[in-house]
């Protein structure tokens, strides 16, 4: 199956050769003393994040805590602690082995492993459990855990904002190691991840994420930034994966853009692992020996990475031709627009290209994989010192008007994302009244329950009475059915709804 896909991909890449006409001529080396000065990097994604000016620390925020501490010991359940926890709690997990899936659907929870003499708390999936940690709360930290042998992901977020995933060791957990998705503002730092059959770190449909100082190896993809905006990938050690660092648009997802990704100061070394991805997955298309792959993602900056020993290619820019096994998405732009290649250290790449890459190189009368290749032949890219590198398809790249991205220290936000939208006319009591109560109570007419007008007459200045009754209703009137309890709304919401109900005039 994979072979067929590879063959299809090769054909498409062959077609791309049309754009690469004169790529084989060496760039003339121009010596300039002193070097010309350049402007500052300007990033659309930096507009709302902490700029360098006046800031001495970055990523300095933490998940808010309340002082509540819950200690979980070997033999106990982490999930029971989560159930008992209030927002702001810190759950300390002692060394031991925990065989469970932990899900966190509360705000501001910290799961923090306690490491003693090198002994971690171990979450063990035994090859049968799905995911180790699932979170959806606004504000979440998970740190200091050793996670192994889950079928799905080690740590998976669904729409949680303001998350910190750090200092975890993840070994052989199936599909993804760390997978925050559909969230805004996150830090993925200092994790050690290996043996993953898709991406070790996979940032999917997210905004404002820093992926920094991680060690990822022996996986199909090291770090993948997918359909995300404002992502900083910095200082990671990425080796012996099939592909090292990826910035992707996956077609067919509801959020269809990828852009403002800075990949800098990473070590991307010897990513020559055979591809052991699940058939049909997008990463099953990655040729072994790929240092970096930018597919359809815009405004990707590649800066001061050490990219060495990747046998097929150092850095590959391409379009959806590498995703030939997915249905076409007319709403996603396939081109990797405005690629920006700053200074990078490239050594020893392309010396044993994978068959797919070899076939493509043959069309260019070459045998060795390049440091940089652009199969689309973008005309809006830039590269510094192109003469230093072996390149293909970069003929139309210009000079960059900036030399570094030091104006962007982080893409995380200076303040956490608030848990609620703040819009006038969307007050909680009103939303609860119309969104829930109105199913049974109309203003002036009988529905399932008595009209609001009658309730107003009964309770006058007593919203507390309504709120209390709604939580534990008893049958009061023969002519109406008993009200179902509304304790699912918290006290604050019930009271707000009651006040709104009493103030309603129509």
């Amino acid at each position: 199956m994979n072979k067929i896909l590879a063959a299809v991909g090769a054909l498409v890449l062959l077609g791309a050769g049309y754009y690469l006409g004169n790529a084989n001529q060496p760039e003339p080396t121009v010596i300039k003393v002193p070097a010309p000065s350049r402007g500052d990097f300007a990033s659309a994604g930096a507009s709302e994040v902490a700029a360098a000016a006046g800031k001495v620390s970055v990523r300095a925020w933490e998940t808010p805590t309340s002082g509540e501490v819950i200690i979980v010991k070997d033999g106990e359940s982490i999930q029971e602690a989560v159930k008992a926890a209030e927002p702001g709690a810190v759950i300390k997990i002692m060394p031991g082995t925990y065989r469970e899936t932990v899900y966190v659907d509360k705000d501001n929870i910290t799961l923090s492993g306690v490491i003693e003499q090198g002994n971690y708390p171990v979450m063990h999936g035994e090859g049968v459990r799905n995911d180790a940690v699932l979170y959806s709360g606004n504000g979440f930290t998970v740190e200091n855990l050793y996670i192994t042998k889950y079928k799905g992901n080690a740590i998976m977020g669904q729409a949680g904002n303001n998350y910190i995933i750090r200092n975890n060791i993840i070994v052989d957990t199936g599909v993804y190691g760390i997978f925050p998705q559909l969230g805004k503002n996150g830090i993925v730092a200092h994790n050690v991840i290996s043996g993953i059959e898709d991406a070790a770190i996979y940032v999917g449909m997210s905004d404002n994420v820093d992926v920094v100082y991680n060690q990822v190896f022996d996986s199909v993809a090291g770090i993948e930034i997918e359909n995300s905006r404002s992502a900083l990938v910095e200082g990671n050690f990425v080796y012996n994966n099939t592909g090292g660092i990826l910035a992707f648009i996956t077609p067919g997802l509801p959020i269809k853009t990828c852009g403002d990704v800075i990949i800098r100061n990473n070590f991307v070394v010897d990513n020559n692992h055979e591809n052991f991805a699940i058939p049909g997955s997008l990463v099953s298309n990655i040729p072994p020996g790929t240092g970096m792959l930018v597919m359809a993602c815009d405004d990707v900056v590649i800066e001061q990475n050490i990219i060495s020993g990747n046998d097929s290619v150092g850095v590959l820019f391409t379009d959806f031709s590498l995703a030939g096994n997915a249905a076409t998405d007319p709403d996603a732009d396939p081109n990797p627009n405005r690629p920006k290649i700053l200074n990078n250290i490239m050594q020893d790449n392309g010396k044993n290209p994978a068959p797919l890459v070899r076939a493509f190189l043959a069309t260019q009368l070459q045998t060795r994989g390049p440091d940089f290749v652009d199969t689309v032949g973008m005309d809006d890219g830039c590269i510094l010192n192109p003469e230093r590198f072996r390149t293909l398809g970069l003929d139309k790249y210009g000079d960059c008007d900036f030399a570094n991205t030091r104006t962007v220290l982080t893409y995380t936000l200076p303040e956490p994302v608030p848990p609620r939208v703040n819009e006038t006319n969307m007050e909680k009591g009103k939303l609860a009244y119309y969104g829930v109560c109105a199913g049974c109570h109309a203003y002036g007419s009988r529905m399932i329950g008595p009209p609001t007008q009658i309730i107003q007459a009964l309770y006058m200045d007593n919203p507390e009475g309504i709120a209390a009754y709604a939580a534990n209703p008893v049958r009061k009137r023969d002519d109406y059915p008993e009200m179902p309890p509304q304790a699912h709304l918290d006290e604050e919401t019930r009271l707000a709804a009651a006040k709104f109900m009493l103030g309603l005039t129509r």
Partner: protein
């Protein structure tokens, strides 16, 4: 019975409608879930408390809604309700919108493949109308991008309601009660007493009604808003399987609507004997979308069996089992499909499949189900309850093991 109604419809519709009843007066209140604001009904939901990434309306528990339609007047909404239930909209007065979108059947019809006018067997299943206010594409193949654009399909399809624009307008304009109701709902258009009903008004009114079919108060929603006890332990297990990266259900059936509104190629089987449906490949003119269908919302999914675009699966249990059968296991020989990457071999256990079904049933909420009109402006009888029991039609699932 049918013939009698058709007779009444064809020759004396105006007489039938004047059968001595009080004139119908349209409701001036908004339906549940809507606030009357400057004369218009605006949606209100606790989900409006939450943001969503890129305002896409996809995410997790506390994620805001996708863009929605609202802002119609109470009278337009109520007029839409009458039109929705009135078989006078069809060619011969036998089929209403509610025939295939019956309120008591999850605004679907309980059939694998729907049945149109003259008992015509259609090729696909009627999608539920719950929460259509939040959708940006319509039909299983996504070929319409608005409710107004969608409804001209069934109204004027010769096998569905069988009408045509001229017939529909002459029918409605021929019924005094409707002329009065349209004048109530669209007063600015009827300043001139001789003004007649226009198609746009019909589409607007039916849309106004359809967007009130909001279902966001299930037990799942109570859990999402923070009430941990709203779900039982097995249901929470089901939720975790649902959103796990093993089952991957939530990757496409993404909260809060439980759809990401994309087209996906799954390779589900057709009923025995039915040819393979190319799906979205046709309207998109895109061969790689062969077999692609819109990801449906799972809200109120418990109410809308059988499942998939042509109803091959009779139960939720069968439907969820499809996803653990392996990539392409049901694709007919000779079909080369670009099956979605999330279709894989999760090796879910029987117990896990049961828990998934447990969880799916927590998405049921009909608390805002509208009232069916007691009588119709055309004077015709409600028809949808009769067709709902159409057991005599072979929906193709009987041959399935």
């Amino acid at each position: 019975m049918k013939r009698l109604i058709a007779f009444c419809f064809t020759f004396v519709a105006s007489v039938c409608s004047q059968a001595g009843d009080e004139p119908i007066v349209l409701n001036v209140d908004c339906p549940p879930g809507f606030e009357l604001s400057a004369g218009h009904c605006e949606l209100r939901s606790l989900y409006q408390l939450y943001p969503s990434l890129q305002n896409a309306g996809v995410g997790g528990l506390k994620t805001g809604l996708p863009q929605w339609r609202d802002g119609f007047t109470p009278r337009q909404t109520d007029l839409g309700r009458y039109l929705f239930f009135d078989p006078v909209l069809s060619r011969d007065g036998t089929v209403s919108c509610a025939t295939c979108h019956a309120p008591d059947l999850g605004f679907s019809d309980g059939l694998g493949r729907s049945v149109g006018i003259d008992g015509a067997m259609l090729s696909r299943s009627a999608p539920s109308l719950w929460n259509v206010a939040f959708l940006s594409s319509f039909f299983w193949d996504g070929r319409a991008n608005s409710l107004e654009g969608q409804m001209v399909g069934p109204l004027f399809d010769k096998h569905e309601m069988g009408s045509n624009p001229q017939l529909l307008l002459s029918t409605l304009n021929g019924i005094q009660a409707y002329r009065e109701l349209f004048a109530q709902a669209f007063p600015a258009d009827f300043v001139d007493k001789d003004a007649s009903i226009r198609l746009e008004q019909v589409y607007t009114a039916i849309t106004a009604f359809q967007v009130t079919l909001v279902s966001l108060n299930s037990r799942y929603d109570q859990y999402a808003h923070g009430y941990a006890d709203a779900l039982t332990e097995p249901e929470k297990e089901g939720l975790n399987i649902f959103r796990s990266f093993v089952a991957r259900c939530a990757e496409c059936h993404t909260p809060p609507l439980f759809t990401n509104q994309q087209i996906a190629v799954l390779g589900t089987p057709e009923p025995e004997g039915m040819p393979f449906d190319p799906g979205a490949a046709v309207p998109m003119n895109e061969p790689s979308q062969r077999g692609g269908f819109k990801v449906p919302s799972l809200r109120n999914i418990e109410l809308t069996a059988p499942y998939m675009h042509s109803g091959r699966f009779t139960t939720l249990r069968e439907a969820v089992s499809f996803y653990t059968g392996g990539r392409g296991h049901a694709v007919p020989e000779g079909e080369e499909l670009k099956i979605h990457w999330h279709i894989w071999e999760p090796n879910l256990t029987d117990a896990e499949l049961d828990r998934l079904v447990d969880f799916l049933k927590t998405l049921t909420d009909e608390s805002f189900k509208p009232e069916t009109p007691q009588r119709l402006p055309s004077g015709l009888q409600l028809m949808h309850n009769q067709v709902a029991g159409a057991g005599e039609f072979d929906n193709g699932v009987d041959d399935h093991e």
